[in-house]
């Protein structure tokens, strides 16, 4: 009977050792690894979600930029560029001529202001416009000036009407103090931003 008991005890001991080995050396470290990897996968998933949201935000932002870019020529047309001073003066003279008035321009300190203009700045420059003609023509000229591009914002005005000597006509002189807006801002319009719709 004793050898039989010994045999069973040895078998039990071996089995216990085997179970202990598998539990301690294989199962526990593997479970530990799996737990760490699960945490890693969750972290990666969160990061991917953040990246996805960032991507979505960038996609919407690109669409908004593309929308604004479409309007850029119209927006840019509001401002005069220092390299196109002659075109600016000519456009004002043309407006006056087309409306039957004569014009005198005083650009004030335009050159000095333009010399100090920094990129992306929109600088208001006060100019004085003197118009000669009859009152209707002058009002028409003012109306066209106000809707012209580059933008002219009239700050104050004075219209004086005088009788012309030896004639039964009147002559009106308008003195306008106006603001023109100057910028050197250049926008890279060649590389258009693409709007990729999800639909």
């Amino acid at each position: 009977m004793i050898p039989q008991r010994k045999k069973i005890l040895i078998e039990l001991t071996l089995l216990t050792l085997g179970v202990g080995f598998f539990g301690g050396v294989v199962v526990f470290p593997v479970v530990n690894d799996i737990s760490k990897m699960t945490a890693g996968i969750q972290a990666q998933r969160r990061e991917l979600e953040t990246l996805y949201e960032k991507g979505q935000f960038l996609r919407i932002l690109r669409c908004h930029i593309a929308m604004v870019e479409k309007e850029l020529p119209r927006i840019s047309a509001l401002f005069a560029h220092p390299d196109h001073q002659l075109e600016f003066i000519t456009s004002l003279e043309t407006i006056a001529k087309n409306n039957g008035t004569s014009i005198e321009l005083s650009l004030g300190e335009l050159d000095k202001i333009i010399a100090t203009i920094s990129p992306q700045d929109i600088v208001p420059v006060t100019i004085t416009i003197t118009l000669h003609g009859d009152r209707d023509q002058i009002i028409r000229t003012i109306s066209v000036l106000e809707t012209s591009r580059p933008l002219i914002a009239i700050r104050d005005f004075s219209l004086r009407t005088q009788d012309i000597k030896d004639e039964q006509q009147t002559s009106t002189t308008a003195t306008l103090k106006a603001t023109s807006f100057w910028t050197t801002t250049t926008y890279d319009s060649k590389t258009k931003t693409e709007c990729i719709s999800t639909h």
Binding site: V30, M37, T161, Y187, D188
Partner: protein, 182 residues
């Protein structure tokens, strides 16, 4: 009546009972061992699979990159441009329509020689200097001017109506900037 004979010795009975317990324990341990073996294989396989997935995810995450530099530059430029545009447009007031409206309210016998705008942040003043042939015509003109929607009030010195006949007048129209934007 049935008799139960207890012929097996007590010690041998205990041995048998212990042996049965050992056998049961052995079976439990064998079962546990088999379960552990199978679980270990499954767990090791699962670990390998998860490791592979984690590597794939890491590679995918690292592969995603956004070229935000050009977008940032564009947004900065556009913001500055739009801000400047808003400021420029907000500071712009159309005066031609107002001049046209005033002109249309000047009756024939009234002569306006000077129209001057005195702008201010809170209030605009348009000064009209002219002559009227009679007091009645001047008063009619004043009533007309008051009907203009943008005119909040007028300032008319008493000198304007001192004379019954031809008289020079100075009339100041008070305009609230808020009425112009409506």
């Amino acid at each position: 009546m049935m008799l139960t004979l207890n012929l097996i010795p007590q010690q041998f009975k205990r041995e048998l009972s212990l042996h049965a317990t050992y056998i049961l324990l052995k079976k439990i341990f064998i079962l546990l061992f088999v379960v552990l073996c199978v679980s270990s294989v499954s767990l090791v396989s699962a670990r390998m699979y998860l490791k592979q997935k984690l590597n794939e995810l890491t590679i995918q995450t690292q592969a995603i990159s956004f070229k935000t530099k050009d977008i940032k530059e564009k947004v900065t430029t556009l913001n500055a441009l739009l801000k400047g545009t808003r400021n420029a447009l907000e500071s712009t007031q159309s005066w031609a329509d107002i001049l046209t409206a005033i002109e249309s309210h000047i009756p024939m016998p009234i002569t306006v020689n000077e129209i001057t705008l005195e702008p201010d942040k809170t209030i605009h003043r348009i000064k009209l200097i002219g002559t009227s042939l009679s007091r009645d015509e001047y008063l009619e003109f004043e009533r007309n001017i008051k009907t203009l929607p943008f005119v909040t009030s007028i300032t008319s010195p008493v000198q304007n109506i001192l004379s019954m006949s031809e008289n020079a007048f100075t009339l100041t129209l008070i305009i609230q900037p808020s009425t112009l934007t409506q």
